[in-house]
């Protein structure tokens, strides 16, 4: 082991190319993961923030807010179901926002939510025409105290504060009391306006000790054919594209990790071939195969760790360089650490290819060759 680490210190040059390749692979893995995280974060923030256990949509809405309609009668029926502690109406309308100081064609993409139960991180409902804004909208020039105009009807709302990680469908969200949401929707999208006592969906808080899965079943059974209820986690997965994005990206990342393992296997197989005579001598001097193989693994771990550190820095660098609002990249420390851990596993597995060759080294033959 010491010999292997000493070789790394004394002859780092011979490991540079492998480190560069692994760094590129690590950047790829981190970039792909960051892209996945960015896409999911931008699509699901508003749902993840819900301080609720269940979301109830109308049956035909296929778990989308825009197509869902929950009238007062349905809401009353949900309220009466045992295990339901509290319900809150929620609705959304997606509109372009005119921001003071921006050009007449430079609109910010927003999703205005009307809510009754405050999601985590969002204060209680503000007054009429006041909104809390998603902090991603800062990139569009939105500031606290600013009046922005929503939709073709130029409905004015005033930003009274910022909230974090509440984007929806890739758009910055605005959070208003239901009356404001209803008025903005009626002014801008009259074809989808709702009666005053209706919402698009309900968020439901379960009573203490109530099983959420059982509660969703009970709601669906009690209002069969009228509603479809999902736990918040299920509702997040049901957002169009979320499940498909996660599965496709994870498959691509998986194959890239396999490539990293093959690269490590290739590099250390070549190194092992080069050292066969040396290994023979070391074995003749009493070194065990296990020790020699541990040296290889140690070198692979060091090379991969160095590559991961450089790649992590590069990934954060790319994230910082990409302008806000372009590529939805979200590089986090967690993503970098998980990627590095996966690459380390791949490196150790890759080294396994050299194990057979190390085990087969015959000290007697090696000494004979040497002499």
């Amino acid at each position: 082991m010491k010999l292997a680490l000493r070789e790394l210190r004394r002859r780092p040059g011979r490991f540079v190319t492998a480190t560069v390749i692994l760094t590129l692979v690590a950047v790829l893995v981190m970039f792909l993961g960051g892209l996945l995280d960015g896409l999911i974060r931008g699509s699901t923030g508003a749902l993840r923030a819900q301080d609720a256990d269940v979301i109830v949509y109308s049956e035909a809405a296929r778990t989308t807010f825009v197509r869902s309609r929950i009238d007062a009668e349905t809401r009353a029926a949900v309220d009466d179901i045992p295990g339901v502690a509290r319900t809150g109406g929620i609705g959304i309308v997606q509109l372009g926002a005119r921001v003071p100081g921006n050009g007449p064609r430079d609109l910010a993409a927003t999703a205005l939510f009307g809510y009754e139960l405050a999601p985590s991180g969002i204060p209680e409902t503000p007054g009429p025409s006041a909104v809390y804004a998603d902090d991603v909208l800062r990139a569009d020039g939105v500031e606290v105290g600013m009046e922005i105009l929503l939709g073709p009807a130029r409905s004015p709302v005033t930003v009274i504060g910022f909230v974090t990680d509440v984007s929806y469908s890739g758009q910055g969200s605005l959070w208003a009391e239901p009356g404001t949401w209803r008025a903005v929707m009626a002014a801008n999208r009259p074809d989808v306006r709702l009666p005053d006592d209706s919402f698009q969906a309900l968020v439901v808080q379960a009573a203490d000790g109530v099983d959420v899965d059982r509660l969703t079943t009970e709601i669906d059974d009690a209002l069969a054919g009228r509603v479809e209820s999902l736990s918040v986690t299920e509702a997040i997965d049901a957002i169009p594209g979320v499940r498909q994005q996660r599965s496709t990206f994870n498959q691509i990342i998986g194959v890239t990790i396999v490539i990293a393992a093959v690269v490590v296997a290739l590099f250390f197989a070549l190194l092992t071939v080069e050292r066969l005579a040396l290994y023979g001598v070391l074995k003749a001097l009493g070194a065990r195969s296990r020790t020699l193989f541990a040296g290889l693994v140690a070198q692979a771990v060091v090379v991969t760790t160095a590559a991961s550190i450089v790649a992590g820095g590069a990934a954060f660098g790319i994230d910082a360089l990409i302008p806000a609002g372009s590529i939805p990249l979200d590089i986090s420390a967690r993503r970098v650490i998980v990627s590095a851990a996966l690459l380390l596993v791949a490196a150790v597995v890759g080294c396994g290819f050299s194990l057979r060759r190390v085990l087969r080294v015959d000290p007697a033959a090696a000494i004979g060759t040497s002499s």
Binding site: F31, R62, T64, G151, P152, D191, V263, F267, A269
Partner: protein, 373 residues
């Protein structure tokens, strides 16, 4: 040459690992290239393959058909623009439908007349002629959207009969139905009986005479800051998400493209150094340097070639089955393009090893020095 092949046979594990690495990289590149094309086509195929040369959105719609609304005032501005041969309403919404007895999402696009927002090409059937008829996106034919199928819009129960199929005609990665504008209005009314009549989401415009679509779009945009007129190609390319998808994949392709020559170059550099003694000896007994370099290049070509074959073979079956929700196509042009690029990069990466071979001094066979020293 003979030695080069014999060496590969003898050290098949090492060369096999390199082929596997290149093969996996090629597979990922081709898969992601197809994913990018499939994603863009599924996002905006309906825009790209509709017949109007110019589409006029409201600026508020931010180039999303469903988000755009053309008010009567804006419509008047467009109609007052000179050099317009024809103009028609486009309406679009995403609906819950029952197809093949299963609930599904579907984008319904209403247009007024053939040539002004209708599908440009059909692979089966005909355009709608009666209320309640629709042309469906061909990609969804197997999911209950084939010619002869009946689709029910929920809630409301409006029935649509599929009378034709259009290729590459999805919008926002959902099954898409082109219908007459009145049928679209009926679908909106069936879904939300209390809602008002929807305004058109966009206007489909055909330029007159020699006016180009770009000129007409510029003229319309000059009429109002609230209008966003785009040529068909612009409307597809500048749709939200499309540019992001392309930018993201470009970064990914550059990174994967770099890994292939680096892995190949590293491999051949190392084995050239390892063979230093043998190569020096070969030079000493009269083997010309060119022959040794040729043997190296032959090995590079064989390795990269087999990697390309392996990667393509891994990728091809995915285009035969619905491995993802997108339709992945085997595009021979893309495969050949990437093959040429990767072979060139592979050969370029082996130049370092070739330089070492060329630098061998045969005299050093008697002194023990070689390329590795």
């Amino acid at each position: 040459m003979f030695l080069a092949l014999k060496e590969m046979r003898r050290a098949w594990v090492r060369f096999g690992l390199l082929i596997a690495a290149i093969g996996l990289l090629v597979f990922l590149i081709l898969f992601q290239q197809a994913l990018q094309s499939g994603l863009v086509t599924s996002f905006v195929g309906a825009i790209r393959n509709q017949s109007a040369p110019v589409l006029v959105y409201s600026v508020d719609g931010q180039r999303v058909l469903q988000g755009s609304v053309i008010s009567p005032d804006l419509e008047q501005v467009v109609r007052a623009t000179p050099d317009i041969a024809d103009i028609g309403y486009i309406g679009q919404g995403t609906f819950t439908v029952i197809a093949a007895d299963e609930p599904a999402d579907a984008a319904i696009i209403g247009y007024e007349r053939e040539g002004v927002g209708s599908p440009r090409d059909l692979t089966a059937g005909r355009l709608p002629e009666q209320p309640g008829e629709a042309v469906a996106s061909e990609a969804d034919a197997d999911d209950g959207f084939d010619v002869g199928d009946t689709i029910m819009v929920e809630p409301g129960g409006l029935e649509l009969s599929v009378v034709g199929l259009a290729p590459d005609a999805q919008l926002s990665v959902t099954p898409t139905l082109f219908v007459g504008y009145d049928t679209y209005l009926a679908a909106v009314a069936a879904r939300n009986p209390g809602g008002g009549d929807p305004l058109p989401n966009a206007l489909a415009v055909v330029p007159a005479g020699s006016t180009t679509p770009a000129e007409l779009a510029a003229a319309i945009n000059a009429g109002s800051d609230d209008l966003d007129a785009l040529t068909r190609q612009q409307a597809a390319d500048e749709s939200p998400g499309v540019a992001q998808v392309r930018q993201s994949f470009q970064i990914i392709f550059v990174l994967y493209g770099l890994v292939v020559p680096l892995v190949t170059g590293l491999f051949f550099l190392i084995i050239t150094i390892q063979k230093a003694g043998s190569l020096t000896l070969l030079r000493a007994i009269g083997a010309p340097a060119r022959r040794l370099v040729n043997a190296l290049l032959v090995q590079v070509l064989i390795i990269v070639g087999l990697g390309l074959v392996l990667g393509t073979a891994l990728y091809y079956p995915l285009t035969l089955f619905d491995a993802t929700s997108l339709s992945l196509r085997f595009d021979i042009g893309v495969v050949l393009g990437w093959s040429a690029l990767l072979v060139a990069l592979g050969l370029a990466s082996s130049l370092l090893a070739a330089r070492r071979v060329l630098a061998i001094d045969p005299v050093e066979a008697s002194t023990g020095a070689g390329v590795g020293r």
